[in-house]
Symmetry: C2
């Protein structure tokens, strides 16, 4: 018996929809989440594919997430839109706000969307890719739970605080990156702990503030940021912009709000959109051509663009479908029984 199950992308979407609606999510939430989970599985980001259904359902069962929350939009200024997720998942809030964010960016040149009070479990690249699909440049960031120590410190203050960026390309596939400002994803340390494997020294410190290669000690201590004091500065910037500036929780506050339940982190998210047509005016084609020359200077020397592996996986998945471990498939089926 094969250890892998092959599914088409439509099957992934249908399975996700079925699980989510079965566990009480409104049709609108279920569709928004199923779409992003399908995108994650399609791009072979396995930790952001159907695996997320398990955590998604758990967070609803724990009573933290409102599965029926209807996001509400508030026009704050000509350049700023607030979307109150009302303690539902973030993805429907993003989807609800995107058209108005794009409209503001097109009229002002740049605009911000502050999503507030959302539960967050997804990568940011689907969001900045959706902004790039509108022909806009997108930036997204959010705090998470305070697992990461500042440079020179030993106690956790920051979340894994991801930063994502997308630039629209004429080919349709944007230049896009999405990275945690922590040295590594928390899930990777958890995986090492489960497998009893050592972690590299720069990933984390133990509860005494000493560098450690013991994954379990790392989970009791604090993760490190990537890139030393520079990564630490970026992590702080994200707490400020996607926390303090928009009037929502920092990673430490989000952790306190969770109160040990272990649900998806609840916090805000800041999304920026720039319209290159406004910035460039009649020089728009030259601006896009200049960006293409930059990409060519990178790929022409054999270096990869960020997300290139993801786009290659996408092509394979669209043609051949995706494969998931049978054990995971069975865990998901159990959610339907």
């Amino acid at each position: 018996m094969s250890e892998l199950i092959t599914l088409s992308l439509d099957q992934v979407r249908d399975l996700s929809l079925k699980v989510l609606t079965r566990h009480g999510l409104s049709d609108a939430h279920a569709r928004a989440i199923a779409e992003v989970i399908t995108q994650g599985q399609r791009d072979e980001c396995h930790s952001h594919g159907v695996y997320r259904l398990l955590g998604c359902v758990r967070s609803v069962r724990e009573g933290k997430v409102d599965p029926l929350a209807e996001p509400s939009l508030r026009h704050i200024s000509a350049g700023v839109l607030e979307v109150d997720a009302r303690y539902g998942y973030s993805l429907l809030a993003f989807q609800s706000g995107l058209p108005l964010l794009a409209e503001k960016a097109r009229s002002q040149g740049l605009a911000a969307m502050a999503i507030k009070r959302c539960f967050h479990f997804s990568a940011l690249w689907p969001e900045v890719e959706a902004i790039a699909a509108e022909g806009l440049v997108g930036i997204a960031m959010n705090p998470s739970h305070s697992w990461v120590a500042p440079a020179g410190g030993s106690k956790p203050v920051f979340g894994t605080n991801p930063l994502a960026f997308a630039w629209p390309r004429p080919s349709g596939q944007p230049f896009v990156f999405d990275f945690a400002t922590s040295a590594i994803a928390r899930g990777d340390i958890e995986l090492h702990a489960r497998q009893g494997k050592a972690i590299p020294e720069h990933w984390a410190i133990d509860a005494q503030g000493q560098p450690t290669t013991d994954a379990k000690a790392a989970l009791q201590g604090a993760m490190q940021t990537f890139g030393g004091h520079k990564g630490s500065a970026l992590a702080a910037m994200i707490e400020l912009l996607a926390g303090a500036l928009i009037g929502d929780l920092t990673s430490a506050e989000s952790m306190a709000f969770d109160a040990g339940v272990g649900a998806a982190p609840c916090h805000g998210e800041l999304i920026l959109a720039f319209d290159p047509k406004v910035f460039l005016g009649e020089d728009y084609p030259q601006g896009l051509a200049r960006a293409e020359r930059l990409f060519e200077a990178i790929t022409g020397q054999g270096a990869r663009l960020p997300s290139q592996r993801r786009f290659e996986a996408r092509k394979r998945s669209i043609e051949y479908g995706v494969q998931i471990p049978r054990a995971l498939w069975q865990d998901i089926q159990a959610l339907l029984s």
Copy 2:
């Protein structure tokens, strides 16, 4: 005879003004530059203090920089301002645009200032600090000259591409960082080369694309970004936002424009300003208090905030003046003879 000369900040400013006007810079340019050079010396950023007068004068003598250029402002949209530096230095352009940038940020919530066709030799922290002094949150970035290879590559594409950020604090001293996305400043490699000292392995690669500890080989090869593929992604983002988006040169184009003269890099700069009063409305005091709690969580465990050393130096310099090497002082005096 002492090897160090002590000067008051007023003396630093006067000396700078005298040198700059003597070498043909307009009064407005000389004042803008002297102010920022004084700030650099005051904060003990020695490479951004009076030392810069030498390069500043050299770039004017080489005929690249227009010492009399008058920046012109163009309102692109409600959220976007363009300042054409007309091949003058960047600082007067920044100063000229700042009031309108602040006005746009206050009315739109966020705004962008694109400085174009400027020669650039200064740090970005004086600019984001000036934005924070307006009670706004500031971000600034620019390309430079293509000295830095993308992650996984061996040929230079990116500049040292600095990113700076400032958050206003009630105490008056903002939270501020300003770092190169290269592993290290190019000047540090030059200094090691002059002194015949080895450089750490992650700073650069040689012309064959191999990691090197030989500073001279590094200058013939390419610098590395900080933080591996994440730093490389940020460097690309800065080429795109502060180059392609605003219709100005990428670092490779700026290097070609210089044509081997070795003047200050000519390119554009992107500055963003956010008004927390617009984002937060009546929750403004709570938003600022939340930021202060974040800073306290960092400093309370003995970690430093970025720029803390600079602020300590500032305090000393305001009280006791600054010290510069006699040899440097003599080089500067020679510019007046």
